[in-house]
Amino acid sequence: MLPTALIVFREVLEAALVVGIVLAASRGVRLRGAWVTAGLAGGLSGALVVAGFAEQIAAALAGVGQELFNAAVLFTAVAMLGWHNVWMGRHGRELAVEAGDVGKLVRSGARPLYALAVVVGLAVLREGSELVLFLYSIAAANHVDLGDFAGGLALGLAGGVGTGAALYYGLLRIPLRHLFTVTSWLILLLAAGMAAQGAAFLVQADLLPPLGSDVWDTSSVLNEGSIPGQVLHALIGYVARPSGIQVLFYAATLVIIGTLMRWVGRGDGAAKPRPVKATPHPAE
């Protein structure tokens, strides 16, 4: 039971953490439940389709179909996360000022929830299709103890969803004034981690050079295979032995999205007077 549970947990974990962050980042926004549910539903049905066509995808495009598909999914998610953050760079300041008044937050509304819903859908799609293949491979095996199998599945699901929920409720403890700053940072790191992962797929397909193996090796400090290592990998893209291209994509994503956030935010601030902040800022 435990081996099954562990595998299921690993597959569910990443998607659950993404959902936790998205829910926290959209706190107080009207219809966010519907958007996230739509993302989940779309991702799950997509996962079944992808798992069903796994063979064809793997064989497509001279054998690198799977890699290109995964990279496309990851880079689309990165673009959506980036777009959310750029939007927040523009409007987050006002939101922070208005925070405390959840009613106002709801009205402040047109946050790019579709972007977050797409991110949820893509995370579920990627991890879900692997989960479906794994479940299929077990079901197709000869000697299956159904009770043991169902127990492992339930335990793994509960563990993964529980970790996502713990992250969400942990984030909710942050005062509303600071919550969106924290979620924007988390989303930035999440995007950088996904970009690095996408780059690794393109290296695997031999479409990008790796630019060196083992830029550093911290596996003795924090093994990537351990549960804390896995959580950090999913959250901020922790890699114990990264290749050069992963570091490059990670850093480039941080710089590009970070710059766009500041640039768009500043442009907006210069155009009209900034709302008065409750806490003084040393630079202003």
Binding site: P3, I7, A54, E55, A58, A59, L61, A62, G63, V64, Q66, E67, L68, N70, A71, A72, F75, T76, V78, A79, G82, E130, L133, F134, Y136, S137, I138, A140, A141, A191, A195, Q197, G198, A200, F201, L202, V203, Q204, A205, D206, L207, L208, P210, S213, D214, S219, E224, G225, V239, A240, R241, P242, S243, Q246, F249, A252, T253, I256, I257
Partner: protein
């Protein structure tokens, strides 16, 4: 980031035909998955050059070839075959495993 991925895919489209030529030159190593185990479970590859792992799954069920140290992740359908490029690697040991049967499917690459 959007532009970067665009550039990457554009490059991918242009390079794909050229790469199929280049691929023939990379040293190739076969790995077979059988009864949820890798054969060979320990594989020596040259360090400092790109190598091609050709993974054949002779089990009827799908397996995912995965390695955290190599950053590789590829589903190999039951009865199917998949190619994974690794390296150029620094000398050292790199673990890999079958994500769907990690209890038995364990292996390592030794780059020398």
């Amino acid at each position: 980031m959007r532009y970067w991925s665009g550039v990457a895919f554009l490059a991918a489209g242009l390079l794909l035909p050229a790469l199929s030529l280049a691929r023939a030159e990379d040293p190739s190593f076969p790995i077979t998955i059988k009864d949820h185990r890798f054969e060979p479970a320990e594989l020596q590859v040259p360090a400092g050059v790109k190598v091609k792992l050709v993974i054949r799954n002779s089990d009827p069920t799908p397996e995912e070839f995965e390695s955290r140290t190599l950053h590789r992740e590829k589903v190999i359908p039951g009865g199917g075959e998949g190619t994974v490029f690794v390296g150029p690697l620094g000398a050292g040991t790199y673990d890999f495993f079958g994500d769907f049967n990690p209890k038995t499917a364990q292996g390592r690459l030794i780059a020398k």
